[in-house]
Amino acid sequence: MMDKKTLLFAGIAIALIIAAMAPFIASSNPDGLESAFFGIFGAKDLQGSSLDEEMAGSAEEEVTGITGNEYSFDSPFPDYSIGGMSKFGEAAAVIIGTLLVLGIALGLSRIVARRG
């Protein structure tokens, strides 16, 4: 049985190892929702594996026309990338995100729990 500190550090270590490996092992295929979207808008066969990049681009324009939601936001690290850096930049981005989530979760939990 691990004590509280050991559990915390073991957990953080596991999260950081996953974060560091993520860009190297992750698939760049579209996810389930994107794949359904490309299939429905004719950029990809539902059960096929090749994506028509041109059709994919026009599908994105088409859907904006349907919903009228043109909101866009420039995130600092789009798609987990750090400007100009390769996979190592992505690993750094995921590690930064993991540590940030850890910090916010710890901080917010402490603040909320103390109020009670």
């Binding site: 539902l46 059960q47 690290f77 729990a113």
Partner: protein, 212 residues
């Protein structure tokens, strides 16, 4: 299944945000009542681990990939669906604001699908199946699979209301892909529960002993 901004019209996105905010408020109430000094590190580890594992897209057939959601895991380990709402909301805010993963106007819908539906389906299916198997692992697998699958179907319904997907085809394709991705969700949920139960059997003790 992070919905981007363009997929939902703004008025509908606002409705999803309002519903999400109600659940976020309830999850904060859960946190205030239930978060002991013992549980705070566990919440933080689960949040960080779920963020990291969500970056690992695993290839599935049909030129598609999927990653774990983590809501069932959070809800089972912490013993409440609101734990999943609390943790997934934090993860989704960081993903959306810093990494452009999931839209900001539609974040309410993403919180509903992954946090609320994922958490409630995960938690209650785990509790429902626990007495059948009398062991945490098979129920955890089923809870993980169902939580992802139902969340994906909910997402397809939202896409149909938005006019983005036709209902039938949307349900079919989202269901098909996520039935496979759910195997990843179930497998990692059961494995993580094994690891946590091995490291700290006391933490799991109060959630294993269904019904409370």
């Amino acid at each position: 299944m992070h919905i981007p901004d363009a997929f939902i019209p703004l008025p509908q996105a606002a409705v999803y945000w309002i519903i999400a905010l109600i659940f976020i408020a309830l999850s904060l109430r859960w946190a205030r009542k239930e978060l002991s000094e013992e549980k705070i590190p566990l919440v933080a580890i689960l949040a960080a681990g779920i963020f990291a594992i969500q970056a690992v897209n695993i290839p599935i057939p049909w030129g598609t990939s999927g990653h774990m959601m983590g809501a069932a895991l959070a809800a089972i380990v912490l013993g409440s669906p609101f734990a999943a709402v609390f943790i997934l909301t934090l993860v989704l805010i960081v993903q959306g604001v810093l990494f452009g993963d999931g839209g900001l106007t539609v974040m309410g819908a993403n919180i509903i699908n992954m946090g609320v539906i994922g958490g409630f389906v995960g938690y209650y299916s785990y509790r429902g199946f626990y007495p059948v198997f009398k062991s945490p692992y098979a129920p955890a697998f089923i809870a993980g699979w169902l939580s992802l699958f139902i969340a994906a179907l909910a997402c397809a319904v939202e896409m149909a209301i938005a006019g983005t997907f036709p209902l039938g085809l949307g349900l079919f394709s989202m269901g098909l892909y996520h039935a496979v991705i759910g195997i990843i969700e179930g497998g990692i949920t059961a494995s993580a529960i094994y690891l946590i139960a091995t490291a700290r059997p006391d933490i799991m003790a109060d959630t294993e002993g269904v019904p409370a």
